[in-house]
């Protein structure tokens, strides 16, 4: 790979930001550990990527390897700590790629693909190895899925639960505690054993540790766009849904330790780094196309990925009971379409995430027919445009027979980002450089790229003059 000196200069300010980060990521690895670290890392990458890339087989393997019962969890956020404390293993249910043959007996075609896929797979018997299924209700589609599931998939015990949307009020926090207690009671029934305070405490502690390691991984992986390209990054994170979290946390820690021994790749990376936002970025083919177009993931705001683990327990809740901890952590979450916020913070969150990860743009992976995400889009689009951040909007479904259109759009976006970088480099090379102050946003030249989308007005690739990103 040809070293690009100008990119080095450009990224020095960004490196400074990284060093100043207040995140608790432990980045130190001893010399003695380095010798072991890389082979271990490779083993962990191999194992986790296989699990993340083959969910059905992974769950089969999990089933064979443990006495513990398996509890399926629908999106978006499930009380995994409770499931774990009750002696069971949570298993994620994030859709699939089946052809729809049965689900349309229950839902019209304009149902989001994750729900449609879950229903299809449920009817076909894909989930028969699970001992129970928990459906948390966050949106109108989930309400109906929950009800239809009772008829469509009657043989697996169903545990519906409803999280509050008023998460931060005393009323909502009291309600969630009661709901969590009720759900734990149900889980104990399914599990056949009770959950002690100690077991619940330990489960929560394990999950906090796991979330911390996952944050550490994403923080460090963004420096390795070559070793951890988009699809691999996704598989490594997704593996968490099909493993005992204890084992996953350890393997991820070793993987990240190994990464730290390698020379960083960001400065020499010739492609462009983006933030992904949406429910999920699948199918795998989509991520492969991104890689082919030279796009790497700097950070994500995906419900399936970082939204699960980016929020740690707030320090003020540290001395509370475990139920209260879960409630407080849920209240602390934000910037998610499925979680009501009186003054929504999604746009702010994305802007900051782009800055923190030194990304060059945002790729919206709009899950087709996802109303909550569709409502958020116009609001954050405006905020990102005001911040001068390039944005690509893509409509995706889990099962896509042709991705040619997406390929064209991603290619175009990648070229746009490259062109912006070249202009920035040219500006930096022309003397004299201004001292430290960012240049104000110019009027800019908006250029609407033609798209093959049926909704051209929803795709907005904006080219603007801008200051270097701080």
């Amino acid at each position: 790979m040809i070293e690009n000196r100008a990119e080095n200069e450009m990224s020095m300010a960004e490196n400074q930001t990284l060093a100043d980060r207040k995140d608790q990521a432990d980045m130190s690895v001893t010399a003695g550990e380095r010798g072991q670290a890389e082979p271990l890392m490779q083993t962990c990458i191999k194992e986790l990527s296989w699990i993340g890339g083959h969910p059905a087989l992974a769950v089969k393997r999990l089933r064979a390897s443990t006495e513990k019962k398996l509890m399926g969890c629908f999106p978006v956020y499930a009380p995994e700590e409770l499931i774990y404390g009750a002696g069971m293993l949570p298993v994620g249910m994030w859709g699939g790629q089946s052809e729809i043959r049965f689900a349309d007996r229950y839902v019209q075609s304009f149902c989001c693909s994750i729900m449609g896929q879950n229903l299809e797979q449920g009817i076909k018997g894909t989930y028969r190895m699970l001992d129970g299924i928990l459906i948390p209700v966050y949106c109108d589609t989930l309400k109906c899925l929950c009800e239809n599931w009772k008829t469509a998939v009657p043989d697996i015990p169903l545990l519906p639960m409803v999280y509050p949307q008023n998460r931060r009020t005393p009323s909502g926090m009291a309600y969630l505690q009661e709901e969590l207690r009720r759900v734990l009671g149900e889980l104990e029934r399914i599990s056949g054993r009770s959950c002690t305070q100690q077991q619940l405490r330990e489960a929560f502690h394990l999950y906090e540790e796991c979330r911390s390691q996952m944050r550490r991984f994403t923080e460090i992986a963004k420096e390795y766009p070559v070793t951890i390209p988009a699809k691999l990054r996704h598989w490594i994170i997704k593996a968490s849904y099909f493993m005992d979290k204890r084992e996953y946390t350890e393997k991820l820690r070793l993987l990240t330790d190994g990464l730290l021994t390698l020379p960083q790749e960001r400065e020499t990376f010739l492609g462009s780094r983006v933030v992904l936002t949406g429910i999920l970025a699948e199918p795998d083919g989509l991520l492969e196309i991104m890689e082919d177009c030279g796009l790497a993931v700097a950070a994500d705001d995906l419900a399936q990925e970082s939204r699960q683990f980016r929020t740690a327990l707030p320090p003020e809740a540290a001395s509370l009971s475990t139920f209260e901890k879960i409630v407080h952590r849920f209240a602390a979450q934000g910037g998610c379409a499925l979680l009501f916020e009186e003054q929504k913070t999604k746009g702010q969150l994305l802007t900051e995430l782009v800055k923190q990860s030194a990304a060059e743009g945002v790729v919206v992976c709009m899950m087709k027919f996802c109303d909550p995400e569709e409502f958020d889009y116009p609001v954050y689009r405006k905020e990102l445009e005001a911040a001068g951040i390039p944005l690509l909007y893509m409509e995706i479904e889990q099962r896509m027979d042709s991705m040619e259109q997406l390929k064209t759009r991603l290619q175009g976006f990648s070229e746009l980002l490259q062109a912006r970088k070249s202009r920035q480099i040219k500006r930096m090379e022309s003397p004299p450089a201004k001292s430290g102050k960012s240049e104000p946003l110019g009027a800019g030249k908006d250029r609407q790229f033609g798209t093959a989308s049926s909704r051209p007005e929803a795709t907005n690739m904006v080219k603007r003059e801008e200051s270097e990103m701080k």
Partner: protein, 456 residues
């Protein structure tokens, strides 16, 4: 005239403007009476009528025009105006005398006026997907344009949002609150996957009422009077009962009520449930219906025979009231009921906040499938129904994604004939008259065949 100037017109100026508009209140007898509230000319006209000669339809038009006018006047005076969802604890608003507008009512009126496309285009141009609820798209578009041929509603000073009708409103109103930088008071009513509303749900909802009161006091600068609340609760129950009683006259065969009228009067049960005028309106309506029933009169002025009785499941197709109505009437099919009457029959003991909390979580779409099916079976028996028309409303996933299973179970339990058609509440692009008419024809044939079998 700029949009802002138009918005700031005095009532007299607006009245003059509206009087020059094309559509009139009086329709031909066989047209569905569209409730288009912006009929100030009716307001002028009715001043010369005595109350005793005023029909409920005229009273309704006058009341709705007054309702919108009051909101505009309040805004002009600098008083806070609320935008609220349709099945909301309006008791709290009424107690503080807060002028309230219901965007769903407004969007429906815009749809009925056939001007929704303009607002939808505006919203879609802003990036809103056509997958989203068209009431939301119309309203979010209206927020930018602030000018319609129906009524003009003032922008809100705060939001009053209840999620019992759907979670979509949480997102829609979240955007309004963010864009307008205004407070959003939200009542989250968790979906009832159990048959009844669970106790911890009731506690949660009741606590939200209690949390809302100080916020409302702060916004309005008014003191919340709990004695007044009790009065409003009592009035709300009385009005709701009268609404229900009027709707129940349709049990008579033939029904004196043409069900499409339910769609019109619905605007008033939203806007006037906590008010005496609401009670009087429904009382008058019920009297008229009782008189018709006593005289053995059927639903239609031209005395077309009511041959079959159906339930309409879902929201009306507002831009297509006429064709949807006609295709039914031409075959003697009367829509005698829907799930709407019960949605606003919100009953509880006055003074009982727990009961009120439970009632606000108990509407049809917030209940589980078992309840929904039982509810429909009850209506089939009560109203002697021959068929059900399910409106697969592109805008309403909460109603749609249960329809197929509800349809199967109801057919299995009662043998009733049903059809589903594709439409939308306010997006004119998502309806095909041909498809609708074909489906109604199919329903007619099924109902006729069944009748022949029963007689033969």
């Amino acid at each position: 005239m700029t949009e802002i100037q138009r918005q700031n017109q005095t009532p007299a100026q607006l009245q003059t403007q509206v009087q020059t508009q094309k559509q009139t209140q009086t329709q031909s007898p066989d047209q569905p009476q569209i409730s288009v509230p912006a009929q100030a000319q009716t307001q002028t006209h009715s001043k010369t009528q005595t109350k005793s000669r005023q029909t409920s339809k005229q009273m309704l038009a006058e009341m709705m025009a007054g309702h919108y006018q009051e909101a505009r006047d309040a805004k002009e005076r600098g008083e806070p105006v609320a935008w609220s969802t349709s099945i909301a604890p309006q008791e709290l608003l009424e107690t503080l005398d807060i002028k309230t507008v219901y965007p769903e009512n407004h969007a429906a009126a815009i749809g009925a006026r056939k001007e929704s496309q303009r607002f939808i285009d505006q919203a879609e141009g802003m990036g809103y997907s056509l997958d989203l609820c068209s009431y939301a798209r119309v309203n979010l578009g209206y927020k930018e344009l602030l000018c319609s041929e129906s009524e003009n509603i003032p922008l809100p000073d705060f939001i009053f949002c209840t999620s019992n009708i759907c979670n979509t409103v949480l997102k829609w109103y979240e955007n309004l609150a963010k864009d307008l930088h205004i407070p959003m008071i939200t009542f989250d009513t968790p979906f009832n996957h159990t048959y009844e509303v669970p106790e911890h749900g009731v506690r949660y909802i009741k606590s939200q009422f209690q949390e809302a009161i100080p916020r409302l006091e702060e916004i309005t600068g008014r003191r919340f009077d709990y004695d007044r609340l009790k009065e409003v609760m009592k009035q709300s129950n009385e009005t709701a009962r009268m609404w229900k009683d009027a709707a129940l006259t349709a049990r008579t065969k033939p029904s004196p009520l043409s069900g499409f009228d339910l769609f019109n009067y619905m605007a008033a049960i939203l806007a006037f449930r906590g008010k005496k005028e609401g009670y009087r309106l429904f009382q008058l309506w019920k009297e008229e219906l009782d008189q018709k029933a006593a005289a053995g009169l059927g639903p239609w002025k031209d005395q077309t025979e009511e041959r079959f009785r159906i339930l309409w499941d879902g929201i009306a197709c507002w831009p297509y009231l006429s064709p949807t109505y006609k295709a039914l009437k031409n075959s003697g099919i009367n829509m005698v009921t829907s799930t709407y009457p019960d949605s606003w029959t919100i009953l509880y003991e006055s003074g009982d906040l727990d009961g009120m909390a439970r009632a606000y979580s108990s509407n049809y779409v917030n209940r589980n499938l078992d309840y929904s099916v039982d509810n429909l079976v009850k209506l089939i028996e009560e109203f002697s129904l021959d068929g059900i028309v399910f409106h697969s409303n592109r805008s309403c996933k909460l109603m749609d994604f249960r329809q197929y299973e509800v349809q199967r179970r109801v057919e299995e339990r009662t043998g009733i004939s049903t059809v589903i058609f594709d439409g939308d509440q306010t997006d004119p692009r998502a309806f095909s008259t041909a498809q609708y008419e074909t489906r109604i024809q199919a329903l007619l044939e099924m109902m006729e065949a069944k009748k022949r079998r029963q007689m033969g």
